[in-house]
């Protein structure tokens, strides 16, 4: 039985600019996230995806419409209770590291929520094991790589046993290796624990791994669908400033230069398979 975790119901939000002109950053957006899903929200800079993240965690409240988290309308009154059931990973690995060592940082949210000391120790170690950082519990943040810091941030979120993990551009400041480490950890968590994941990103390679993609453009919801459905509309994605995955670009260029290839190729493997079988289907 699918359970709804988060939903946006005709949500609009505008920032007040200095001249008093209001621009809609979010314009009438509705979608729902079910338990156990991995949703990627993609969009170019200025598409409103960061504002959307702020609405989900109650840093901003919508002008119109409702944000429902765990089937409750998000409001000042239930904000802290709802936040304690979700985990967050932000963009900058350094600026979200509060503790002076890895274990202190993982324990930070537990301390805030008044978890007793004996529970904390086991939960800190469990969550560090889940992100493969057990050997680093006494390390200081400046001795860690970006990818390791982000994994610590994930561990910090996991320690609270969240029902929803929200990642706001969590991999955009990492090198390719760090990015892979983080994505692998999230994938593993999802298959093992059935965690619901919302990842906000402009990286379509990362979005490929999601169950469903929500495409944003200029504050409006452009389309939602599975990666296959979304990437079938590659031109539209490029038109709104998104960078297509490498394999897709290669396959498009090959076709443009006259090679006969069938269908879209979203990953490198699919492309390779498409290439070596391209002559059989003649």
């Amino acid at each position: 039985m699918m359970k709804e975790v988060l939903s946006m119901d005709h949500v609009s939000f505008s920032y007040q600019s200095e001249e008093g002109v209001t621009e809609k950053a979010i314009d009438d957006i509705s979608f729902a996230v079910q338990q156990g899903e991995w949703i990627a929200i993609v969009g170019h800079n200025g598409s409103g995806k960061s504002t959307l993240a702020k609405l989900m965690i109650g840093l901003l409240f919508p002008d119109e419409g409702e944000v429902n988290v765990f089937i409750q309308k998000l409001s000042e009154a239930n904000l802290w209770a709802i936040r304690s059931r979700m985990g967050f990973v932000f963009q900058n690995p350094d600026n979200q590291f509060v503790g002076s060592t890895v274990q202190d940082d993982v324990a930070f949210a537990l301390e805030n929520n008044g978890v007793p000391f004996t529970d904390m120790v086991t939960r800190v170690h469990e969550s560090l094991a889940q992100v493969n950082m057990s050997n680093f519990h006494d390390h200081e943040p400046h001795h860690l790589s970006g990818g390791q810091k982000q994994r610590v941030a994930i561990a910090g979120a996991l320690a609270l046993k969240p029902e929803l993990l929200l990642m706001d551009e969590a991999t955009s400041m990492l090198d390719p290796q760090g990015r892979d480490e983080v994505i692998r950890v999230v994938e593993e968590l999802k298959t093992k624990t059935g965690l619901t994941v919302i990842s906000i990103t402009h990286d379509l390679e990362e979005a490929l791994l999601a169950d469903r993609i929500v495409v944003m453009n200029k504050g409006k919801l452009l389309t939602t669908g599975t990666p296959t459905q979304i990437f079938a509309r590659g031109d539209e994605l490029e038109a709104i400033g998104l960078d297509l995955p490498f394999a897709m670009k290669v396959s498009r260029l090959l076709r443009e230069s006259g090679m006969e290839l069938f269908g879209e190729h979203m990953t490198e493997e699919e492309l390779v398979n498409g290439l070596w079988t391209s002559h059989f289907s003649k």
Binding site: L59, F90, N95, V98, D104, A107, L110, P141
Partner: protein, 265 residues
């Protein structure tokens, strides 16, 4: 040069002194500083020096390393010594050579005051060398807890201190990056008159401040969404534990104070 300075540095270890609870170390040093002023003759100063050496010995920090690191302070101590020698005019004259007159009392005062200074510096250095900054913060928070009644924001102060400590390396890296970026643009901070050099620091400081504020904002958001609502109802992951050795250390200090009181002139 900065590598040699040991002021404020922490050297991890497993000695008796390292293992002490930060609370006992902090109160030990605080009380020791007061006790130092009890000494007023050769015997009591001798005892003080002996006691300090005992502490250094049990911290397993090499004396050579300590002395080397304290060189800048030693100049200060020497200066104090000379000041006392030349400006105290009491007691019998022991050296009378041309215009230089050294009095007995001056020599005595000089030696005592320098010793007092040396002992204080050594003891506080041992504290910072054997206790990690974060433990010192924890200890301070705990010791200052009674002052919460007088509206002293103890928890907030301790959190501010630990976050500052945590961000020192981050901001150092940042400074280094900005410095290199400005050097690459032809900025020069190592030559020219003092005025020019101070001017050259401005393009270094402005971006550093801008980024520090940005970081502070990000951090505040991250803390808020992770449920931080002040010290109320918060539990602590870092637990301090008072061991028998902490009681022993304070008892030893008690013996020292008793000895000083009995033997002072």
């Amino acid at each position: 040069m900065l590598e040699k300075m040991i002021f404020g540095r922490y050297i991890p270890g497993t000695s008796f002194v390292h293992k002490l609870d930060p609370r006992s170390k902090l109160s030990f040093v605080f009380l020791f500083i007061i006790a130092v002023f009890l000494a007023n003759n050769a015997v009591t100063y001798g005892i003080l020096l002996g006691f300090t050496l005992l502490v250094i010995f049990s911290s397993r920090i090499r004396i050579y390393f300590l002395i080397n690191g304290l060189k800048p302070i030693i100049f200060l101590i020497a200066f104090t010594f000379l000041m006392h020698i030349f400006f105290t005019k009491e007691g019998a004259i022991i050296v009378d050579w041309k215009f230089i007159k050294i009095y007995e009392e001056g020599l005595r005062q000089g030696i005592f005051i320098s010793l007092r200074f040396l002992v204080l510096v050594l003891m506080t250095s041992i504290l910072t060398l054997t206790t990690s900054p974060i433990s010192i913060t924890d200890g301070m928070e705990d010791l200052l807890n009674p002052f919460k009644r007088f509206k002293l924001p103890v928890h907030e102060l301790a959190l501010m201190m630990s976050i500052s400590l945590r961000f020192i390396p981050t901001l150092m890296d940042e400074t280094d990056k900005i410095l290199k970026a400005q050097l690459a643009r032809g900025s020069d901070i190592s030559t020219g008159s003092i005025k020019q050099r101070i001017r050259a620091v401005i393009p270094l400081l402005v971006p550093l401040f801008v980024s520090a504020f940005k970081r502070a904002e990000d951090l505040a958001i991250a803390m808020e969404v992770r449920g931080y609502r002040g010290g109320e109802g918060r539990t602590r992951y870092r637990q301090l534990k008072w061991h028998w050795r902490d009681t022993v250390a304070l008892a030893l200090l008690g013996v020292l104070v008793a000895a000083l009181v009995l033997l002072r002139g």
